[in-house]
C-alpha cells in the first residue's frame, strides 16, 4: 500500500483480474446491502423468510465467485490482496460456514421471535471481513478486514437484545475485542516503524536483509496478543465462555469457527514472516496453556454453550501446537484442523440451537437427559460431532488432531505433543458427559420436542458429511492444504526452517 500513493504507480491501475480476485467479497457485500435495503421495505413477518433466502443465495453466490477467484491466482490492488491456494481454501471454508449458519438460523429466528433481517446482512458482512482477512497480505488491510468481521460479530452477539445476558455478552465481546484489536494495530504500527512497510512480503524482504530489529519482535508479539484474543487462546481467553453463553446459539457457531479460522490464517501469514523461533516459546506456552485451561475448565461446566466455549479454547490450543511446529507441516495441519473443527463445531452448535428452544431455555446438561430417546436422530448426530471433537477415528476431528500432533512430533516438540495428547485424552471426559446425559439418563424435565425443519436438516447434513468425509478420506483436503502451504511458505521462509532438524521444506506428512 505504501507504494500506492506515489504518483508513478498511478499508471498501474487495477486490472479486471484484480476485481475478480475480490469477487467473493464484492458478491457478499452486494447481497448484504440488498438484504439491508430490503429489510425496512419488506413486511416484518413475511420478509424474514425472503431475506434469509437472499442471504443464503448470497453465500452460495459467494462460493461460486470463489471458483472464479481461484482461476486467477496472483496479487491484486498494488500487492494488498493475494489469491493463492491458501486464500481460496479459507474463502471456501468461511463462506460455507456462513451458508450453514444462515441455514441453521431460520428456525432460531422464528423460535426466538427475532424479526430483523439485518441479522442476515450482518452475517454476510462478517463473512466479507473474514474472507478478506485470509487473502489480505497488507497489515492495514488485515486490520480493516478484522474490524469488519469483529464489528459485525459484536452486533450479532447482542441480537437477543432483551436478554440481559445477550447484551452483556455483546458488551464484553466488544470491549475485549476492541482492546485486542488495539494491540494488533499497535503491532502493525511498530512493524511499519521497524521495516518501513506494512506489506507482508516487503516486511519479509526487509527483515531478511539484516539482523531483525527488536522492534519487529515486539511488533509480532503484539500482533500475536491481538490475534490470540480473536482465536481465544489462553491467556487471552477469558471473554470466550461469557460471550458464548450470552450470544445467540447460531452466532456462537459462526464466531467460534469463521473468525477463528481467519485469525489463524492471518497468524500463519504473519508468524512465518519473521523467524518462528523469535516467538516460539510464546506460542508454545500459549498452546500448552490453552489446551490445559480449556479442558480443565470445561470439566465443571453445566451449560452446554459454556462447555463448548471452553472446548473451543482447548481446540485453539491444539491448533497452536501446529504453529509451534515447523511452518510447512504446521500450516497444512492448521488448515485441516480449522476445516474439521468448523464442520464439527458448527454441527454441534446447530443441534444446540435447535434444542435450546424459545429464549434459549434448554442449554444446561440436565436438559440433555434422555434426548437419545426423545429425538434419537438428532442425538445421534450430536454424538458424532462430539466424538469428532474428542478425536475418535472415522471423524474429521481425529485426523485433525493426528496431523497436528504428527507435525509436532516431526518438529521434535515431544513435550508439547505429550501435553497435547494427554489433554485430548482428558478432554474426552466432558464431551462424554453430554453423550452420557443423552443416552444413559432418563429425562427428568418436560422438554418439548420440536420437529426439525428442513433448513436445519440441510445444515446438519452438510456438517455431518463434512465431518465424516474428513474422517474417512482426509487425503484430498490435506493434499490441497499442503500444496497451498508450499505456495505460502517459500516466499517468506528465510531462516524459518533453520531451527528444525528433521524436516525439509519439501517434506510432507
Amino acid at each position: 500500500m505504501s507504494v500506492a500513493f506515489l504518483p508513478g504507480v498511478l499508471q498501474t491501475l487495477p486490472q479486471n483480474a484484480d476485481y475478480v480476485r475480490i469477487l467473493p467479497e464484492i458478491v457478499l457485500s452486494v447481497f448484504g446491502m440488498i438484504v439491508m435495503v430490503l429489510e425496512p421495505l419488506l413486511d416484518e413477518k413475511t420478509g424474514q423468510k425472503i431475506l434469509g433466502l437472499i442471504a443464503l443465495a448470497g453465500a452460495l453466490a459467494g462460493l461460486a465467485a470463489t471458483w472464479f477467484m481461484a482461476q486467477v491466482p496472483g496479487v491484486a490492488f498494488w500487492n494488498m490482496i493475494r489469491v493463492d491456494g491458501f486464500s481460496v481454501f479459507f474463502h471456501v471454508l468461511v463462506i460455507a460456514i456462513a451458508a450453514v449458519v444462515i441455514l441453521s438460523s431460520y428456525e432460531y429466528m422464528a423460535v426466538q421471535r427475532i424479526r430483523a433481517g439485518e441479522y442476515y446482512a450482518l452475517i454476510l458482512f462478517g463473512t466479507v471481513g473474514v474472507a478478506l482477512m485470509s487473502s489480505a497480505v497488507e497489515l492495514v488491510l488485515i486490520f480493516i478486514a478484522l474490524e469488519i468481521s469483529s464489528i459485525s460479530s459484536y452486533v450479532l452477539a447482542g441480537f437477543r437484545r432483551h436478554e440481559a445476558a445477550s447484551a452483556e455478552s455483546s458488551l464484553k465481546y466488544f470491549l475485549l475485542g476492541s482492546f485486542a484489536t488495539a494491540f494488533f494495530l499497535y503491532g502493525v504500527a511498530l512493524m511499519f516503524g521497524a521495516t518501513g512497510s506494512t506489506n507482508i512480503d516487503l516486511i519479509a524482504q526487509a527483515l531478511r536483509a539484516g539482523p531483525i530489529p527488536l522492534l519487529a519482535f515486539v511488533a509480532v508479539a503484539l500482533m500475536f496478543v491481538g490475534l490470540g484474543f480473536k482465536v481465544a487462546a489462553a491467556p487471552f481467553h477469558i471473554w470466550t465462555p461469557d460471550v458464548y453463553e450470552g450470544a445467540p446459539a447460531p452466532i456462537v457457531g459462526f464466531m467460534s469457527t469463521a473468525p477463528k479460522a481467519a485469525a489463524f490464517a492471518v497468524l500463519l501469514r504473519v508468524v512465518f514472516v519473521i523467524n518462528v523461533h523469535a516467538i516460539f516459546w510464546v506460542i508454545w506456552i500459549a498452546a500448552a496453556l490453552s489446551m490445559t485451561l480449556g479442558n480443565v475448565s470445561a470439566f465443571v461446566q453445566d451449560n452446554v454453550k459454556r462447555l463448548l466455549a471452553y472446548s473451543s479454547i482447548a481446540h485453539a490450543g491444539y491448533v497452536l501446537v501446529a504453529f509451534a511446529a515447523a511452518p510447512q507441516l504446521g500450516t497444512s495441519a492448521v488448515m485441516f484442523y480449522t476445516a474439521a473443527y468448523a464442520a464439527m463445531n458448527l454441527g454441534a452448535f446447530a443441534v444446540v440451537t435447535h434444542f435450546a428452544n424459545a429464549g434459549e431455555r434448554y442449554v444446561t446438561l440436565e436438559d440433555y437427559e434422555g434426548l437419545g430417546r426423545s429425538s434419537p436422530l438428532l442425538a445421534a448426530t450430536l454424538t458424532i460431532f462430539l466424538l469428532s471433537l474428542i478425536g475418535i477415528p472415522m471423524t474429521g476431528g481425529f485426523f485433525a488432531k493426528f496431523y497436528v500432533f504428527s507435525a509436532a512430533v516431526k518438529a521434535n516438540l515431544i513435550w508439547l505433543t505429550i501435553i497435547g495428547v494427554l489433554n485430548s485424552g482428558v478432554g474426552a471426559y466432558y464431551y462424554l458427559r453430554i453423550i452420557v446425559m443423552m443416552y444413559m439418563r432418563e429425562s427428568r424435565k418436560e422438554i418439548p420436542v420440536t420437529p426439525t425443519p428442513l433448513a436445519l436438516r440441510v445444515a446438519l447434513a452438510v456438517c455431518l458429511v463434512a465431518t465424516l468425509y474428513l474422517g474417512l478420506f482426509p487425503g484430498r483436503v490435506l493434499q490441497y492444504a499442503q500444496d497451498s502451504a508450499q505456495q505460502l511458505v517459500p516466499q517468506t521462509s528465510p531462516g524459518v526452517t533453520s531451527s528444525a532438524k528433521v524436516h525439509t521444506a519439501t517434506e510432507t506428512f
Binding site: 500432533f405 504428527s406 458427559r433 452420557v436 443416552y439
Partner: protein, 505 residues
C-alpha cells in the same frame, strides 16, 4: 484360482461384514424379533467366513497371510494393510466365535432399545477384528480407539446400577492410556516415514531409524502403558471390576473374552515385535507386575461376595499369566500365553454368560443369595462345572494347556517366576471351586431359588459351544498350537540375536 481371489479379500470381508450388518440393521424397522434374528444371522455368517482363515492357513508359514495392502491416505502415508499370522489368527476366530453367542445370550435379556444394542454389538465386533488384523499402525490405532465407543455405550446404556460411572471410568482409563501410544506411533512415523508394522520393524532391526536408541525406552513405555491398561496389568486394573460388574452380559463376555486380549496381543505384537531390546531390558519388572497381578487377582477374587466381581478378578489373575508368558521370551512361554488368551476367552466368556443367566433370574450376583442350585438346575450346574474346571486349569480342558506352557516357559527364564506363578493355579482352583460349592451345593437357603428355571433353548445354544470348545481345545491343543508355533518362533527370532539365548529348548 478362486481361493486365491478370496484370500486377498477375506480379511476385509470378515472385518467389515458385521459393520455392514449393523448399518443394515439401522434401516430395519423396530421389530425386536427380526432384529435379533438378523443380528444372529450376520454374526454367524461372519463366523463362517472367518473359518476360511484357519482352513486355508499355511501352518508352517511364519509370516503374515491373507495380506491386503492398499493405500488409504497418501499424505500421511497410511495404508489399508491387513494380515494375520499364527498369533492373531485365532484371536480373530475367537471374536467371531463369541459374538453369535453374545447375540444368543442377549436374546431375552435385552428388552429395551434392542436395535441399538445389536447395532453396537456388531460395530464392536468389526472394531475388535480390525484390531487383530491391522498391520498398519495407524489402522491399528484407528480400530483400537473405535472399540471404545460401542463398548462404553454398551456398558453405559445397557448396564446395571452404576453403569454410567463404570462406562466413563472405562473410557477414560483406556483413552488416556492410548494417547501415549498415539504419541509413540507419531514418533515412529516421523522418523521412519511409514506406519507399516513390517516396514518399521525391519527398519528398527536394521538400525536405520535416526535417534532411535535415545527414544526407544520412551516409545516402549508409550506402547506399554496403553496395553497395560487394557490387559489390565496390576496396578492399572481398577477399571476392570467396575466395568465388568456393570456391563450387560454380552458386554462382559466380549470385554473379558476379546477386549482384554487386545492388550496382551499388543504387547506381543508391538512391544516385542518393535522393541525387542527394550522388552528384554524391562522384562524383570513387567514380570514382577504380572506375578503381583496373578496372586493379587486371585486373592481378591477369593474374598469377593459378588460372582461377577470374582470372575473379573480371576481375569486379572489369568491375564497375568499371559503377560508372564510373553515376557519369558521362550517358545513355550509365548505359545502358552497365546493359548491362555484363547482359553481364557472361551472359559471366562462362558462364566460370564452363566453368571448373566443367574442374574436374569434373580437380579443379583451375590454368591450368598444362592446355594443348592445343583438340584434345581441340573443342566445349568453341569455346564457351569465344565467351564469352572476349564477356567481352573483341569487337565484335558483348555485352561490347563496354556498355563502349563506359560509356567514351563517362566521356569526356563527364572525358576522363581515359575514357582510363584504356579501358586496362582492353586489359588484359582480354590476360589473357583469354592464359589461353585457355595452356589450349587448345600441346601437351598432362599426359597425363591427353588423355582428357578433351568437353561432355556437359547441359553443352551450359547453356553454349550463354549463348553465344547473348552473340551476340544483341552484334548487337541495341537490343532491350535500348530499354527501358533511358527509365528512365535519368528517373533522370538530377534531375541536369539539380541541376547544369544537359545529358544525353545
Amino acid at each position: 484360482m478362486k481361493t486365491d481371489d478370496l484370500n486377498s479379500i477375506i480379511l476385509t470381508l470378515v472385518t467389515f461384514a458385521p459393520l455392514a450388518g449393523g448399518l443394515l440393521l439401522m434401516l430395519l424397522p423396530r421389530r425386536d424379533r427380526d432384529i435379533r434374528i438378523f443380528a444372529l444371522v450376520i454374526s454367524l455368517l461372519t463366523f463362517v467366513l472367518s473359518l476360511h482363515l484357519p482352513v486355508y492357513f499355511h501352518r508352517s508359514h511364519p509370516g503374515f497371510q491373507y495380506e491386503i495392502d492398499r493405500q488409504w491416505v497418501s499424505t500421511p502415508n497410511i495404508h489399508y494393510h491387513m494380515g494375520v499370522d499364527g498369533i492373531s489368527l485365532w484371536l480373530v476366530v475367537l471374536t467371531t466365535f463369541l459374538t453369535p453367542l453374545c447375540v444368543l445370550i442377549s436374546w431375552n435379556s435385552i428388552h429395551e432399545r434392542v436395535k441399538e444394542f445389536f447395532i453396537l454389538l456388531l460395530i464392536l465386533e468389526t472394531a475388535l477384528i480390525g484390531v487383530f488384523t491391522s498391520l498398519d499402525l495407524f489402522l491399528f490405532y484407528f480400530f483400537w480407539e473405535a472399540t471404545l465407543i460401542p463398548m462404553a455405550l454398551l456398558i453405559g446404556i445397557f448396564g446395571h446400577e452404576r453403569k454410567v460411572y463404570a462406562a466413563v471410568k472405562f473410557f477414560m482409563y483406556t483413552m488416556i492410556g492410548s494417547v501415549f501410544m498415539l504419541a509413540a506411533i507419531l514418533w515412529l512415523y516421523a522418523h521412519t516415514g511409514s506406519f507399516d508394522f513390517v516396514v518399521i520393524r525391519d527398519q528398527i532391526a536394521s538400525g536405520g531409524v535416526p535417534s532411535f536408541p535415545a527414544a526407544a525406552q520412551w516409545l516402549f513405555l508409550g506402547f506399554f502403558l496403553a496395553f497395560a491398561v487394557k490387559v489390565p496389568l496390576f496396578p492399572f486394573h481398577t477399571w476392570l471390576p467396575d466395568a465388568h460388574v456393570e456391563a450387560p452380559t454380552a458386554g462382559s463376555v466380549l470385554l473379558a473374552g476379546v477386549l482384554l486380549k487386545m492388550g496382551t496381543y499388543g504387547l506381543l505384537r508391538f512391544n516385542l515385535g518393535l522393541f525387542p531390546e527394550q522388552a528384554r531390558r524391562n522384562a524383570s519388572w513387567i514380570m514382577t507386575l504380572a506375578l503381583i497381578g496373578i496372586i493379587y487377582g486371585a486373592l481378591v477374587a477369593m474374598v469377593q461376595p459378588n460372582m461377577k466381581k470374582l470372575i473379573a478378578y480371576s481375569s486379572v489373575s489369568h491375564l497375568g499369566f499371559v503377560v508372564l508368558g510373553i515376557f519369558s521370551f521362550t517358545q513355550a512361554g509365548l505359545n502358552g500365553a497365546i493359548f491362555v488368551m484363547l482359553a481364557h476367552g472361551i472359559s471366562t466368556g462362558g462364566l460370564f454368560m452363566l453368571a448373566g443367566i443367574l442374574h436374569e433370574r434373580r437380579h443379583t450376583y451375590e454368591i450368598s443369595e444362592f446355594g443348592g442350585l445343583a438340584s434345581r438346575m441340573p443342566v445349568y450346574a453341569a455346564s457351569y462345572l465344565v467351564i469352572v474346571l476349564a477356567s481352573a486349569g483341569l487337565p484335558l480342558l483348555n485352561g490347563f494347556i496354556g498355563e502349563f506352557l506359560v509356567l514351563s516357559g517362566a521356569f526356563q527364564d527364572k525358576a522363581v517366576y515359575g514357582i510363584l506363578g504356579a501358586t496362582g493355579i492353586i489359588w484359582s482352583a480354590v476360589y473357583l471351586l469354592w464359589m461353585y460349592q457355595r452356589v450349587f451345593y448345600g441346601k437351598v437357603t432362599h426359597p425363591v431359588n427353588n423355582s428357578l428355571r433351568d437353561l432355556s433353548g437359547f441359553e443352551k445354544w450359547a453356553v454349550w459351544p463354549c463348553a465344547a470348545a473348552a473340551l476340544v481345545m483341552g484334548v487337541a491343543p495341537i490343532m491350535w498350537l500348530g499354527a501358533i508355533d511358527p509365528a512365535v518362533r519368528a517373533a522370538l527370532a530377534p531375541f536369539a540375536q539380541v541376547v544369544g539365548k537359545v529358544v525353545g529348548q
